[in-house]
């Protein structure tokens, strides 16, 4: 898979920042015997960590739009939203989205070091 372009310092700083209430993303996590848990996530990094849970749920399109609208990371947003068209199961798409985000996070950390 083609690597992401190096982010600007400005973009990197945005992606690493904590978010306020209005910019949060609401995702869902399933628990045995407890159903869905609504989880508000307040940073790019927090979403990545959240997606490691094997029963986490967020719409791919919603995730992509959140990245575009909140951080302005068009490249990452488009790469994630394209996953919806792939012939993959939902969980596989989510893992790919997570890994793309993880890669971006790594770039941001290096950029701000």
């Amino acid at each position: 898979m083609k690597p992401l372009e190096k982010p600007s310092k400005t973009l990197a700083a945005k992606l690493l920042a904590e978010l306020d209430f209005d910019n949060r993303i609401t995702c869902y996590r399933l628990h045995r015997r407890m159903g869905h848990e609504m989880v508000d996530l307040y940073s790019f990094e927090e979403v990545i960590l959240f997606l490691f849970h094997d029963l986490s749920q967020v719409k791919i399109e919603k995730l992509g739009k959140w990245i575009e609208n909140t951080f302005g990371d068009t490249e990452l947003s488009e790469r994630i939203m394209r996953l919806d068209n792939e012939e993959l199961g939902y969980r596989e798409k989510l893992l790919k989205a997570r890994n793309l985000m993880w890669s971006r996070l790594s770039q941001c950390r290096r950029e701000t070091m």
């Binding site: 869905h36 749920q57 199961g89 890669s103 790594s106």
Partner: protein
Amino acid sequence: MNGYTGKILRINLTDKKASTIETEKYMKWIGGHGIGSAIFFDLVRDKTIDGFNPRNVVTIMTSPLTGTMTPGGASRTEIQGIGVQTYPLGWFTRSNIGGRFGPMLKYAGWDGLVIEGKAGHPVWIDIRNQNVRFRDAEGLWGLDTWESQKKIWKLVQDNPISGSWSEIGEGEACGRTTQRPAVMAIGPAGENLGRIAAIIHDAGNASGQGGFGGIWGAKNLKAISVIGTGGVEVNDPFELLEARAWAKKNYMFNIEDPSKIDAEHSLLGDPTVRSAMSMAASPLPIVFWHRRKESRPQACIGCPAGCRARNDTGLGNESACAETIIYAYPDMKKQSRLWVRIACSIIETAFDENAASFFALSYGESSDIAYAATDLCQKLGINAYEVWRGIPYLRALHKKGVLGPGRQIDCTLPFERFGEFAFFEELLTQMAYRKGIGADLAEGLVRASEKWGRLEDDLTSGLLPCPYWGMPDHYDPRYQVEWGYGSILGDRDINEHDFNLLYWMPTIASLKGEDPRVSAEEVSQIFSRKMIPFENDQKMLDYSDENIYSEHFVKLVAWHRYYTRFWKQSALYCDFLFPDFLNLQTKDKQGMLGKGEQRFLNAVTGKSMDFRDGIDLGRKIWNLDNAIWTLQGRHRDMVHFAPYVYKRSLEPSAYMPGMEDGKWKYINVEGRYLDKKKFDEWKTLYYEFEGWDPQTGWPTRKTLEFLDLKEVADELEEKGRVGKESS
């Protein structure tokens, strides 16, 4: 008296007197909830009193199965009384607790306890076989629930060495035992009259819902300790063991190769995502922190489920389910940040999927903080569910800028330390001792939100997910509709997982891109055939938008109320194993439901109940409860969900069986919200079905007399709250 001891201990805290109620007087209710409701009805003349009122009566009831070898039926105890947690009114409510207390009570010679009045100063009750003492709790008041229990063990037992013989006084087996007392205790939260205070037994058994911890605090009751040296008389011990062997052979996991059986018979198709909802599953602690390698399942007496764990660290022992998640996520988030930073500093290429996967193995390690947080909640005696749902709500308000030092909702919680133990400790300490913002939170999330002037907005937006009677959301009523309906028609979050499989199986399958193990049509057939006396109506299991407001769905909800009121809350079969609707261990996929329940009960009692008898008795108990709520002030106009259930669409995917274009399939109900008008119309159908006045929801004399509840009808009439008969 097979299964029974014949005596219920009546404890008058005001007069410090103990007396006896003959169980025979209430034996027609069998046990547990049925007996509790009947005794409450008889003893509490004014049902409009507040739960903190000394005249509130708390019943603690076992069943004939308690203390026997019935699998999944030997250890539960039902606690009832006017609660203080629900909003706007504290309904007559129930809680249920596992562990050793119920069996030990039977071994001491008691079928249950009735607690009334209020002691003049803090006391604890010391029950040793038939000897009952009111003891001064001065040295206990102020201690947490674990410290209290340990101290009581030393006070009761002359030999503090665990497992050694001790003499407890007169009784069977010469009054000697190697067991330690079974103690239920309240902590600081209960002492400070928290509406969300729990009663804790051993390390992790809790009576969480209803606020009974605060009710005991109001009564100056710190703890009840019981130790017994007797046994439980069983009518046909051979048949009981035969029944257990039959259940094990035909419905439970095969111990020869449990992992293989789990893979084959896991209804969720993935042994790592087992729900332990199936009788066929091997023991699996239901814990939500990442389980330590050095841990083992722990079970109540006679139960094969093993839903709790004991850990090598001694942390988190015996806690399960929601108790284990209260701080697991913030802890994981904080811990895993370290790994993410390390990973990022090592990953050299811009995108390396393998490296990311490698570090994924390191993700999600729960530190001791998650376990210690759970233990703190148990020690302070706080309802874990309120804490779990409360933490994200508080965090959201902080992020909104309305909660924090000097803000509109002033508080000193150290949000900069969110995810650390310090934050959690400060929050729970404030709740337990009503300090700072804890004074509001001790009243429950909904009352706190009301005080902050946010309730209407937050229940409309869903920021505060409390859909029914001010209780936190469990299974969303927008997909698990029968759960929502049962909760709002009753007194609390029902916490009855009987139909969750219908959601879990297809929803997990869709996440994995697989087909569910059993089709929608087949599952609806299997379920409906077991739902006597409505077994011919397969559409009961149709969760489509049209059908959830239908008469078919009325029957589903009614059956669920009757089954749980009797078989689970009165006979006291555990929610973890019962009902066994669908079981892949069997050739026809039919579970033990409708065969096992009565077999064990009859083996113990010598009765000849059939499954339908239990359903009918459940209907009677449900009607008695509705009569009590009616006397408390209920009217159908109050019976509505929080606004967000009617206004906001369900966001995540959730699949339920239903019919579309005449065919059964699993329907994705994402986007659904309940229609308030249609729900109101459905309530009319429901009330008419039950024989209640559709204008008010009150039971009618005709229905109550049909159910042999004439005296209940008389009291309703006396209070001007009997339902009008339909003309």
